[in-house]
């Protein structure tokens, strides 16, 4: 069976997914426009060395830019976009397909999408540069490199998300995932140093050194073969091709292993048990909460954030990103405290599709007629049981690492609370109006076809809204720094709570009007 069958199947499923859902079409158009704009910008960036006719700059920009592309393919699906799993491998379990046919088909289907086309378009800028510098022959070599690079990107992203999804099902895997995420996030530190020193030093010697190292790794190798031709180092081309091909082969092998497990072992295989005993109400409601409707809703949310793999994945991602990124930034001379509003808002973005996590189970709340305000407050409370300690930890850690010293911690916490509150105010209404169904999949990173751009757009809209909303606080903290040191905490807390109250009120009213519509939106398979 040829891979084109898989591609046609995926495109057909995507198109059918649009039927009767104009909102999704709009989302995808937005995603397409955004992707085209991004690809165009990157194309120009990669073409600049060619326009400048500077082979030395090209030998730095191409491998580093390519490396960022590969890294983006590795990380963004985990953090932001999710993986389009319209072709669920488990659906092919009954068909007589060999493993290699399946992998080729799935790879081809993964290539048929906005991200892959955008990446290809962007990296064609490298082909332009190389062709300009070294002629058509070198350009063709770079074209081969760019295509291989795209294959590497897709294979890497599918293999890692697939393995990560499998790993998250077991407790040991969860711990490993946390460590892995920490390591990956820690990698952002060195990259930050690079970028900073690259900007600060005009001779760019360090950057060139790093670029030389990166071009011998799978990250930069596919994109560096063209400049090898230009610089008269044709001997490097076969070695780098070998590196890339070996990396792709290894990733595909890894992916096919995890894919097989996903096909035939979609259940966790182990029966989950809950620990505590006692009377039903005592089992459900956390000891600190009242034995009431609010307590029940909040406890259920809190338990779900831990028991459901999709929610847990987003919680772990946020925890690691929220704590590591600012610390790394501070440790490497960047502005750690400056990103705190971002961290606070990112915490709120975790709730952007809170009803989508529930799926059709949300019917229980609709049938019981839970008032909108109670629903919203309890959901925020349940999530905050995890998010607030993480935010507090981030604030304290940054206070200790960054220059301000322990005395600055209260004001940092103030900024965090303000950003979290504003973020919630923006996210809560979005979580009702923009809710979308998640597929019934064992992969916590899976999104249904066409929902990827929606997920990213909602997240970005929430971040942008939160940035605007926290601007007054940020301004105040900069303009009146000495006052902010002691007044920051109360002002931030009041500002955050105020914003939250306004946002939750709006969200509660919308919810009261739209409960059945929301239920229909989050019910999968409609």
């Amino acid at each position: 069976m040829s891979p084109s069958v898989f591609v046609r199947l995926k495109l057909r499923m995507t198109v059918n997914g649009f039927r009767g859902r104009p909102g999704r079409v709009v989302m995808v158009v937005f995603g397409g426009v955004f992707g085209a704009w991004f690809a165009f910008t990157a194309f120009i960036a990669f073409a600049i060395p060619g326009i400048l006719n500077d082979a030395r700059v090209a030998s730095m920009v191409l491998p580093l830019g390519g490396g960022v592309a590969v890294l983006g393919w590795l990380l963004l699906p985990l953090v932001l976009f999710g993986v389009d799993e319209s072709l669920d491998p488990a659906r092919f379990a009954l068909l007589p397909l060999s493993r290699s046919t399946l992998i080729r088909g799935m790879l081809a289907a993964a290539l048929a999408g906005v991200p892959a086309v955008g990446t290809l378009a962007a990296t064609l800028g490298m082909v332009f540069t190389v062709a300009r510098l070294g002629g058509i022959g070198a350009g063709l070599v770079e074209l081969a490199g760019v295509v291989l690079g795209l294959l590497l990107c897709v294979a890497a992203s599918r293999a890692v998300t697939s393995a990560f999804a499998g790993g998250l099902r077991s407790r040991r895997g969860r711990d490993a995932a946390t460590v892995l995420f920490g390591a990956v996030a820690a990698l952002l530190g060195p990259i930050q140093i690079l970028a900073l020193s690259g900007v600060q030093r005009t001779d760019g010697r360090q950057v060139a050194g790093v670029a030389r190292a990166v071009e011998w790794t799978p990250f930069g190798a596919p994109y560096a073969i063209g400049t090898d031709m230009v610089l008269g180092r044709a001997w490097g081309v076969p070695i780098k091709l070998a590196i890339v091909l070996a990396a792709i082969a290894g990733l595909l092998w890894w992916w096919s292993r995890t894919l097989e497990r996903a096909m035939f072992d979609s259940s966790s295989g182990r029966v989950s048990q809950v620990k505590q005993g006692g009377e039903p109400v005592a089992q459900l409601v956390l000891p600190v909460l009242p034995r009431s409707r609010f307590g029940a809703l909040t406890s259920r949310e809190a338990r779900y954030w831990w028991r459901e793999s999709r929610r847990r994945a987003s919680l772990i991602t946020f925890s690691v990103v929220g704590i590591f990124v600012p610390i790394m930034l501070s440790a490497t001379g960047g502005s750690g405290p400056g990103v705190l509003p971002f961290v606070g808002a990112l915490a709120a973005v975790g709730l952007a599709n809170q009803f989508g996590f529930d799926g059709s189970a949300y019917a229980a709340n609709v049938v019981s007629g839970v008032p909108g305000r109670a629903e919203i407050h309890s959901r925020v409370a349940g999530y905050s049981l995890y998010a607030v300690p993480v935010l507090a930890l981030a604030g304290v850690a940054i206070g200790l690492v960054a220059g301000g010293g322990p005395g600055a911690i209260p004001s940092l916490l103030g900024s965090l609370v303000a950003a979290y509150g504003v973020g919630l105010a923006v996210v809560l209404p979005i979580s009702i109006v923009g809710a979308y169904a998640m597929p019934d999949s064992a992969n916590p990173f899976a999104t249904s076809s066409g929902a990827g751009p929606a997920k990213a757009l909602i997240g970005m809209a929430a971040l942008a809204g939160a940035a605007v909303g926290t601007a007054p606080v940020v301004l105040l903290s900069h303009l009146a720094h000495s006052v902010w040191l002691f007044a920051g905490l109360p002002i931030g807390v009041i500002y955050g709570i105020g914003a939250y109250l306004v946002g939750s009120r709006i969200a509660g009213r919308i919810l009261d009007r739209r409960m059945p519509e929301l239920l229909a939106a989050v019910t999968p398979g409609r």
Partner: protein
């Protein structure tokens, strides 16, 4: 429960076309129909899960769509498929539903224990509902619907994928509930179950009620299956095709 002129369209397809149905208080009402007849859509609109394009759903004098809170208070629902918060244990799920309905925690504990014991779910102990078998899920779903003592029970396919022992138990519980003054409406496409249980039936096809009344009136001396096949129509035997079978 009274449904008046209910209409629901999905895109261009009309799922329910101006449906009227009266369910007398204290009746055991079976809603029969082939797959895709609009049974689930109708029941979803009747309990406030799906907003109708037109029409009214009135439960014990309360319009479900105008005045939902008092209406929802007296309804217990077992929705289609299994729409439960499955990552709770059976006991946790019951406690959740009870507290959600604003019940007193002590009453919730007592009733939940009783329901778990009667439905033989206590032995599942602390297993999450997601790991329950299909029959156990139906039973815990029924327990959630019964917990707050509703006056009207609306059950979508309560006997689907349930083993004979559990089915007998569910039948017994429902009979007792009706004897105690409750009203049951349930959908099914299994004739035997409906014939054994129901006082009233309605046969639905293509989004409309085709026959309705007491069981005996609808049957009119024939078997319910005969009446159903005649009312619904459709092919019931193979012709010259499929010779390769």
């Amino acid at each position: 429960m009274a449904l008046r002129g209910l209409v629901k369209r999905f895109d261009t397809k009309v799922a329910v076309a101006g449906l009227d149905l009266d369910v007398p208080a204290g009746s055991f009402y079976g809603l029969l129909g082939p797959n895709g007849a609009g049974k689930t859509t109708t029941l979803s609109m009747a309990v406030g899960l799906l907003r109708p394009d037109a029409g009214q759903a009135i439960v014990l004098g309360h319009d479900v769509w105008v005045n939902p809170v008092p209406a929802k208070r007296v309804i217990g629902v077992l929705p289609d498929g299994v729409r439960l918060f499955e990552r709770l244990s059976g006991a946790e799920l019951l406690a959740y539903h009870g507290l959600l309905r604003g019940m007193d925690p002590a009453t919730v504990d007592q009733r939940a224990r009783e329901l778990l014991d009667v439905l033989e779910l206590s032995s599942a102990g602390r297993t999450l509902v997601v790991d329950y078998s299909a029959g156990m899920k139906k039973k815990i779903g029924l327990a959630c619907a019964l917990l707050h003592g509703p006056r009207l029970l609306v059950l979508d396919e309560p006997f689907e994928a349930v083993d004979p022992v559990s089915a007998a138990l569910i039948r017994d519980i429902l009979r007792r509930y009706v004897t105690g003054g409750g009203t049951v409406v349930f959908s099914s496409h299994v004739m035997e179950v409906v014939e054994r249980l129901c006082s009233h039936v309605a046969i639905m096809a293509q989004g409309a009620i085709r026959a309705t009344g007491t069981l005996d009136a609808v049957r009119g001396g024939r078997s319910l299956e005969d009446v159903f096949l005649r009312v619904v129509g459709g092919r019931v035997a193979t012709g010259t095709e499929l010779t390769w079978l």
